[in-house]
């Protein structure tokens, strides 16, 4: 995805959020919103990986949300995205990288009532990284899986008593490296500081819906 198309998608995302706000239902206007006690959510969007040679792609996710405090909640989300890998990036042949992450995020809400509920989030993800070269190589290579920090924020817009639209932006900070397979000893025996470290920091944008109970 080029920078221009990413900008286009960002603009479309922003427009969609604005329209959602404007078209919020009469029911939502009549009742004060609140942080739901429990929600099921699905979302989709775009991602851009910072490391040179790695492109942009689509992401999607699904999970649950629990309110855990006056202005706090816990989100458990399974998300996945894949991006292109340019020839030579991280010493790899051209192909695609897939990243699937099980996220546990703590969300801190700035306000506890209202139609729009903005929040910041901080969490960790157990990340599984896959690599699929366009042409099968002689030596099999793959990324080392990692646990990574995730920072971000977003807001929920109340549409009805049980339905919220959710927009979020996250920064998923994976530090990893590429290794030759098969690995001959446990990963703990590898000195990470001696590796050619990759900062696969992905900037993610998502738009989704939450069903509250």
């Amino acid at each position: 995805m080029t920078t221009r198309t990413l900008k286009t998608r960002l603009a479309v995302t922003g427009l969609a959020v604005a329209i959602t706000l404007l078209l919020a239902s009469a029911e939502a206007r009549a009742h004060e919103g609140f942080i739901p006690r429990f929600s099921v959510e699905v979302d989709a969007g775009a991602v851009s990986v910072k490391e040179e040679g790695f492109g942009t792609g689509r992401r999607y996710g699904a999970g649950v949300f629990f309110r855990t405090g006056h202005r706090m909640g816990l989100e458990v989300l399974l998300e996945s995205y894949d991006v292109s890998v340019a020839e030579g990036a991280a010493g790899l042949a051209a192909g695609r990288m897939n990243m699937t992450t099980l996220l546990v995020n703590q969300e801190f809400f700035l306000v506890t009532h209202g139609r729009v509920l903005p929040y910041g989030l901080l969490g960790v993800g157990c990340t599984f990284i896959g690599y699929a070269p366009d042409v099968p190589p002689e030596v099999e290579m793959d990324f080392v899986d990692r646990i990574a920090l995730q920072l971000g924020g977003g807001f929920d817009v109340r549409i009805s008593r049980t339905l919220h639209v959710s927009a979020k932006a996250r920064y998923n900070m994976v530090k990893t490296w590429v290794e030759e397979l098969p690995r001959e000893e446990p990963i703990r025996m590898t000195d990470p500081l001696a590796q050619d470290m990759l900062h696969l920091y992905g900037f993610e944008l998502g738009l989704g819906i939450k069903f509250s109970f």
Binding site: T68, V124, T127, F128, L149, P186, P192, L193
Partner: protein
């Protein structure tokens, strides 16, 4: 951080309490019954996990520590491969780990858990860290020192924070109390910041007017008067020391809750190579009080300890459990004599390995063993004139990687006399003797002895 915290406790508490502590000669009545406390075990567990992820994130992104590169695979491997003995440095294993445990324990206490619940919090937090948050195999000794040290430091910090915080404080007074309270009870302080409007919640530390007593003294050494030839380094030995007694060692005020009564003796001594912390903490876990004649009192109890000792190049530390007794005798006119003795098991300790091995990162031996202690103090009109303390450690050094198998016997004798000069201030003379005999394979048995006498000024409260 423990060093800084402990050295600051005496000053901070007295500034914060501002004369609330009653004089040493008169124990206060037992505290009024407290309301039932709401416990939030899940929140405590979340905060413990959050602490681990927070520390890990700092080490991984700011520190780029090699051991912080974790994944699902490292967690799986750690569960599969099991425990080992850790080879980290002495300061990391016996100073830093207990502070980490302190935070776990603080999370439990801050969410209404009692001593035992918060102890599980410390154990759970340490277990999670060892299994998940480092790529290396989990360490047995780290689990013990983090948990046991964390419990002792955490409960002491929590009790002190409850003395400092005051529910109806306002303005600068409240700010100062909350600041000191947060240093002493970090997670509780953060929770109060986020839930400020809920500070009347009975599960939070209460006001200092609950009847607890705090006695102690602060001491600054003057010149070294005499010392043995075995000492290395310069003749100067700047030392700051304190003693804090929470509750009556003889049991007045004991309500049956762990650490209703505890004692804390600390000392930071510079030289010859680096500051050496000595810290002796013992808190009663269970016990029974006996009233004596003429206002005397006696207490038979089971105690939990966490102790460090260091003078010159000799150092020993460990976590232990003892049984013992304390007595307070009130003698006319206005003389108080307190005496105590304890004997028990030193679960896991360490002593410096002066033989050393070139290239060996760890310069200490791990040990288990027996510990004994006896204390005697004489005070008149609230001023302590004489004190004598004896500590004994019989160590059986473990034959594990990085540790030299052998046996050691330590005897530490500390005594001092002081006289009041002006109000609560006095001057005195302290003497300290440390003897260590050892049998390490394959070396000949030997011994080392050090002696030092110092003059000091003291402030007793």
């Amino acid at each position: 951080m423990i060093t800084l915290s402990t050295a600051a406790i005496a000053i901070a508490l007295n500034l914060a309490l501002g004369g609330i502590a009653p004089p040493a000669a008169r124990p206060s009545p037992p505290p009024p019954p407290q309301k039932p406390v709401a416990t939030r075990a899940l929140t405590a567990a979340s905060e413990v996990a959050g602490l681990n992820f927070g520390v890990w994130a700092f080490l991984h992104y700011a520190g780029n520590a090699a051991y912080s590169y974790i994944s699902w695979e490292t967690i799986r491997d750690n569960f599969r491969d099991g425990w080992e003995w850790d080879r980290s440095q002495y300061a990391v294993n016996f100073y830093h780990h207990p502070y980490h445990g302190y935070l776990y324990y603080s999370a439990g206490r801050a969410n209404g858990l009692g001593y035992w619940g918060a102890s599980l919090s410390a154990l759970g937090g340490s277990f999670m860290w060892e299994m998940m948050m480092e790529k290396y195999r989990p360490s047995i000794n780290d689990l013990v020192t983090t948990t046991c040290g964390g419990i002792v430091f955490g409960e002491v910090g929590y009790r002190f924070s409850a003395l400092v915080r005051k529910r109806d404080a306002r303005g600068a007074g409240r700010f100062f109390r909350e600041l000191v309270g947060t240093i002493l009870d970090p997670v509780g302080g953060v929770n109060r910041l986020f839930n400020g409007r809920k500070d009347s919640d009975p599960s939070l530390p209460g006001s200092p007017d609950v009847g607890r007593i705090l006695n102690g003294w602060l001491e600054l050494t003057g010149p070294v008067i005499a010392r043995s030839d075995g000492f290395s380094g310069s003749e100067a030995a700047p030392t700051i020391a304190f003693t804090l007694d929470y509750g009556d060692p003889a049991g007045a005020g004991w309500t049956g809750k762990p650490f209703d009564v505890f004692s804390m003796d600390g000392r930071l001594r510079w030289g010859p190579d680096r500051p050496h912390l000595s810290l002796f903490i013992n808190g009663a876990l269970a016990g029974k009080t006996y009233a004596g004649r003429g206002g005397s009192g006696h207490f038979l109890g089971v105690y939990q300890h966490y102790e460090y000792y260091g003078i010159d190049t000799m150092r020993v530390c460990g976590t232990s459990f003892t049984a013992g007794w304390s007595s307070r005798f009130e003698l006319p006119p206005n003389v108080r004599l307190t005496a105590s003795a304890r004997l028990g098991w030193l679960g896991l300790g360490a002593s410096d390995d002066f033989y050393g091995v070139e290239g060996e990162r760890r310069a200490y031996n791990l040990a288990t063993g027996i510990t004994a202690a006896a204390d005697l103090a004489v005070a008149a009109k609230g001023f302590e004139y004489l004190s004598l303390d004896w500590r004994h450690y019989q160590l059986f050094d473990l034959n594990v990687p990085g540790s030299r198998a052998g046996r050691e016997g330590w005897n530490i004798l500390m005594g001092q006399v002081a006289i009041p000069v002006l109000a609560d201030f006095g001057v005195g003379f302290a003497a300290e003797y440390c003897a260590r005999r050892y049998e390490f394979e394959p070396f000949e048995p030997g011994s080392r002895k050090l002696f030092e006498a110092r003059a000091f000024v003291t402030w007793q409260f």
